[in-house]
Symmetry: D2
Subunit: 493 residues, 4 copies
């Protein structure tokens, strides 16, 4: 969980370049643009050829934001050289003494030389594969499922490196958007269901791969296309020359995709295009649907004030307000909650006060906007409900007529096995309250509370086929086999 | 200047408490709420009485944000004890090796014991007073005008401490909102023109004084009233008991006040009430006036897209958009520019690129909102114009039909001597371009550029009398005598 | 007290240069050489003339060792420019929230421009002077007696700057070795009794002043002479040209000097010459006297093993061993106690063990040297006795026949008012035990314990006149009037 | 190389405990005592059994001194729990971006659960083994030879864990003193030649293993015996109960041992017993032999002054001086060079001076001791010769009659493949000068220079058989097969 918020976490963002002398710098900027996908650790591996024509992979990685990890190297003009690079932003479990090992990219040496990997997603058959590998004599140095992929490649019977990679990827199940950097190529792969986004771009002849298009934009790269679900794309000097990277399909490629709907709801940046659509537009449509299904009117005919929980719900709130207007309900979008820029990731509260000052320091309520108004608060999701409860109470201090909480997604009731991090099922407020929305409403303290239903949400995906989305966290219907006994961090080293 | 932006800086924010065992903690929270008024240094002085009934003033201060300065003390449960405290957030000139000395509050010892001071504003007769004091044998340890006040108090012939303070305050000219903490009282004072805001609140019987009401709100204190221009308020144990702090008027109290209009335009937090009005409401009215005076329509009858430069212009942009609608011009407010939360105060750009990546990392353009649209960008002010130029160029990449920059204040042409920090006159774009708005427009690269005029702006102050505002930075008309030869940081020690 | 030891602390070391473009760098090295005189804070002020021929004094100071304070500036090639500089190493009271203010040099502005001061010593009439100054309207920003000197200079009625300095110095009493840097000169002064050392050197035409000659040596400056007790030396461009700095005598200059004998016993570096003699030689002579007065023999005719408590007692221990040999007592100097280089100033002991691991980590006993031997441990002084007790117990674990502790100074029974820091009288083991050496011996756990007497110690000063030393900490006989009610850190701000 | 010195580096120190609830704390202290064997990184792995009787291995490791790595955990009372632990001090190649991975202990997961390893030494057949393992599908995450050992254990066909460890150790060649911590035992092993020391101790029923006895002493453990060359000792709960750990011999155990003679000359702490002897005594005997073979007399019959390069040569210098006396040559040991305590591992030199100030800051010459004397400087070894040259030049400034450098070891001419780090052969002064001592003397600038010969040095090993020492760095005679093409850090990842 992001400290001080009540949002699920995405495991990571990945970025890669092949064919430019500025590879590391582009990767650095790309990771900046993907910072929202992981804030706790970051790393870059670059491939460079020394004056003796020997190829090396070199790495910088560390805990913290992109700027915290790389700034000392940039200051000393010491960012990694080379004409190819991959990078990774990570959400790491803080506090674990082993966590540092799990920072990606991983860089290892095996019979085909050095190889590095950056992975966004989660393998669902990791436990089985890990056990098999260990029984064959493998040693594991991390608790990450990503290490499994490297072992599978190293142990593949296929002689050719690409064949070995395909062999390994055909064995893994679950969600993976993956970058592999070897001594002579960049390999980008996406699982057969396409759970997580991954896109291809070009700049100055070089190929660029990124979790989201916003990372192409920051370096002014041109968007080419999405990496397809089940596609393995091999980019090497030849590809750069011809402009035709080799594309291979994984065995298990599916007819229906299973894109993570939460990427639209919360994870991806509004200025990105993913799964073929503008995040901003989809998110706005969710807001509109929410208005259409759960409108609010003022008892006295005054304008309803629609505010968002900044910044992630801004777009949905704008959509909600404009749809109300279209429905001829007097309403206006307002900035009634302001988010402080100064509070960092840590906040230490002095004294023994039981008021939670953190929410109060983070969010400022503009009383003049709220007072004596019918207020709609639009948020994108509720996980534990604790922050929502505090926010509603904070807004209540500004004396509105009433507060109506509208959530632009369905109640979250099930864990995700494809790369989102939720608290345990028992901590989910929707699970706790037996999916009884009125009970949740009473807990949170809003006057009314409404969610979008799964049907609503897929309706918003009108143009894109509904079958192509994973909604497991709302429905419990998992598109792949899942080992339910499997705890993500079970295999402590 | 705030790094990476093009805004003037306010010199500081102040906060004080008398009469609560939680004084330091409240001050700590108050400074959090006033963080926007100064981000480079922070300090708290508390007054505590030890077990021998001896009174001490003790201090913590340092460079950095409020949390950076105080967190180590809070962690060790070591925030200052005592039943009174004053605090200060400061914008300090970075890089100066002397800067640390200038962090406030100042705490000194003189014939009436210990005294601490926290000051927001700027004295216009400092140079003269400093020279006189030095000639009388005073030694100066800082380059701050605030030290002058302490010397005047210490050298006053008046026997009584309050009389001496009044004597000192009657000698200083310019802008001052001031807190003094002595061994037995808290003194709050505001200059006769009332340039900077200062308000009085109460909580649990204790008195609270703050630059803005948002700092009362964070600790749930009740707003009592503004400290009046020219008022000196003395709060001691007696005041707490009776509920009647003693109030004294300074000699030079004016009929017309000279409130800083920039507090409404940019400095103060939207959720504050200052000079008797809601900042949010005034700021929105500026946006509306801007629309009324400088509307934009789409040549094809499409909706005009109104975006703000987040976050300081959000309110004005909302006002602009709603006013256009009222004028039946098709328009909508959109979040077309997003501000990154992850970029801190420092950003080190790698390589020799001449593109300014900082603006690109800080602001994300949502292409889908901008593309092929007539776009109005609302900003609150332009100082050097460099950031505006970069922003317009960034927005231009998203291919709008046209970009119309609208500024919710007049062109800045003159320096401020009352507590705002601008670059030198020659760096002001409006001065450089000889106040020729079309030249500024060409420099910045917008299709059209319009400002509010001084008349417009005072019009928005309809309800509050126009004579009560200082507009010197726009007009060059200074309400007090100013020593124009005086350079703010001239007296290096 | 130095953490983990049981030694008094010297208040500081000072260093100054006039006439070289390398002034700051020399001062930096000089402070390195004087690091033993103060490890908790350090500062340098330089005087430089800018391109407009304007003179500035600029400052860097901070907490920590010399390298900790200056390394970041050196890295960025940013040490202070200028052709004159003064520096100061300080022992600051840790933990005090006001301590940072007390770091020297102090740099202030007064009617004659900027002036900086660095002071080694302690004023005995500070309290009286401070009260007078405060009553005249002075404000005090530190708790340091050094600030008094600056006020006296600023308030002097004498028009000429040098006259004003002399006027001020004639009013202060106690111990002071002092450097003043003004906009056009360096002033070095020593109190009439000459409590603390101060010497003059030259290098490349420039003048150098330092607490000890070891600081001249590090920059390969030539030793010229000591600054005389009661002398004020004025060094300016003229002096550099003519080679004749102006020398003025203070009114109160004494016939007999009162050099601090502890400078020889412990403070000064063995490679320094102070008060006209080699510290190493005097210290060795103390060891010899100790042997002559308190020899130890082995009951079985074996060689007595003489070890030191490294590193401060090494020289005395060498002297002790060689004197025994001269007396035909079988003896040898050995390195039976080794001091760890790796333990820094802080050591945090895990767990609740009551063994003091710090002494064990700091000192390693070489068992093979000690076992079954008659061991003499030579130390230079005992303050609280706690560390000695632990050391004896540690040595005892190596199974010697017997341990004989020999101290190359008399029992410390009285506080110092001239610049040494002791714990309170009640914590002094010699005071606690009523100066009964046998009781101290029992407390510490040695088999025998002997000190040098005051007579012994002055005997070692044969060649230099005995009357010229202050022995107040051993005898309670103070050479000047002392305000015994005065607590060094009484005037908290 | 240790910065600022000219000494070879030992790769590391190791420490382990089985059977005490204080295992981690003892290991922490043990690592403190072994700090001289590696100062750049440190780590501890402990084994603890949780409340569900599940066993875990947990780890803390990081860059820096022992105190720097562990202090934050100790402060928070958070040192690793458990009843067994191993620790490691490391000399890591600074600057390498991969270096962090190489910090030991390594902790991995394999088919027998978790296992951790701490290794002092260097494998000579690593390259061959690594290639074989890689070809079998192993992935390597570090460049350390220690990782090879873990792979060999994981891939052994032996079912039993101990058998698999023996199987692995029988395959590795070179120098290894090794600790393995598994989920139920501590395994200590030493290579068949016994290059590096390793000893066994007991405390409170628990077993303790350490590189040197000084690490037993610090926790007051009793020395039991050395782990034998070629011995593998298994310590588990059973061993603790019975007091009889199981001991197994490796296949290749040798008749003659090959103890590293440099452990006596420089590496080990003087208060340790290693290879059956007191380091202090052997080192003193080297000094005596040096005097006997290369005495110095004063031309005028004055006493020769014998000084050491502190602290590592102190003992040899004492031996040298006492032997001269025994030979009736007038001589005395003096402390003519003092070592500063304040200079840390880094020193940044300001300006462009070509004088090396570092040596001057680190070593203080006591002029009074040196001046006009015939001086013998005793040092334990010369590697590059650069520091010796600077030291001799520094001593020369104190105007001795003459300076005679005496080295208590032979000229270093060959690289070590058993755990010492030298610069490349071409940087060795003895190699550069073709082993012509007179040329070295001229380079360094001493009046005369003499070394001990290999014969001399083995003579000092009279009681211990000469055949039992490795002298490869002096003679080029390597006791094992060495792959000379092998570069220690060749396999960059």
């Amino acid at each position: 969980m992001i400290p001080g918020t009540d949002k699920p976490k995405c495991f990571c963002g990945i970025f890669g370049v092949f064919g430019s002398a500025e590879s590391s710098m582009w990767t650095y900027y790309g990771l900046h643009a993907l910072q929202h996908r992981g804030q706790e650790a970051s790393g870059i591996v670059s491939r460079y050829v020394d004056s003796d024509q020997k190829t090396h992979l070199q790495i910088i990685k560390g805990e913290g934001l992109v700027s915290e990890v790389f700034d000392e190297f940039i200051k000393e003009n010491n960012l990694l050289e080379g004409n190819a690079a991959i990078g990774h932003n990570r959400y790491s479990t803080t506090g674990s003494s082993n966590s540092r090992k799990n920072i990606q990219p991983f860089l290892v040496n095996y019979h085909n030389g050095s190889i590095a990997v950056a992975h966004n997603g989660n393998l669902t058959n990791e436990s089985k594969l890990r056990t098999e590998l260990i029984n064959e004599g493998a040693i594991f140095q991390t608790t990450s499922d990503t290490e499994v992929i490297l072992h599978l490649i190293a142990r593949s019977k296929k002689g050719d490196q690409i064949d070995a990679v395909i062999d390994a990827l055909n064995q893994i199940e679950g969600a993976f958007s993956l970058l592999l950097l070897t001594e002579d190529k960049l390999i980008a792969a996406r699982d057969p269901y396409g759970f997580r986004p991954l896109c291809l771009g070009k700049k100055d002849g070089a190929y660029v791969v990124a979790s989201e298009t916003c990372a192409l934009d920051i370096i002014s790269a041109t968007f080419v296309r999405d990496i397809e679900p089940g596609e393995v794309l091999i980019i090497n000097n030849e590809s750069v020359k011809t402009g035709h990277p080799k594309s291979i399909k994984l065995q298990n490629t599916q007819e229906y995709k299973k894109h993570c709907i939460f990427e639209y709801i919360y994870f991806s940046r509004p200025d990105s295009f993913i799964f073929g659509h503008s995040v901003d537009k989809v998110r706005r449509r969710l807001g509109k649907l929410l208005a259409r299904n759960h409108p609010v009117t003022d008892p006295d005919g005054d304008k309803v004030v629609v505010i968002s929980v900044p910044d992630s719900s801004n777009t949905a709130a704008l959509g909600y307000a404009s749809e109300l207007q279209k429905m001829d309900i007097p309403a206006k979008f307002e900035l009634g909650l302001l988010r402080s820029h100064y509070i960092g990731r840590t906040f230490i509260q002095p004294g023994q006060e039981n008021r939670d000052m953190k929410v109060k320091i983070k969010f400022n309520v503009v009383k003049g906007i709220i007072e004596n108004k019918t207020v709609v608060v639009v948020d994108d999701s509720i996980v534990r409900g604790t922050t929502s409860k505090k926010l509603i109470s904070l807004i209540r201090e500004a004396k509105p007529k009433s507060i109506h909480l509208r959530i632009s997604s369905p109640p979250i009731t099930h864990p995700c096995y494809y790369g989102m991090d939720f608290p345990s099922k028992n901590e989910l407020i929707a699970h706790q309250c037996g999916e009884d929305i009125e009970r949740i409403n009473r807990y949170i303290g809003s006057d009314t509370l409404e969610y979008l239903s799964i049907e609503n949400i897929l309706e918003s995906a009108r143009e894109i086929e509904k079958e192509n989305f994973c909604t497991a966290c709302f429905s419990g219907v998992y598109p792949t086999t899942v080992d339910f006994n499997f705890k993500k961090d079970a295999h402590e080293i």
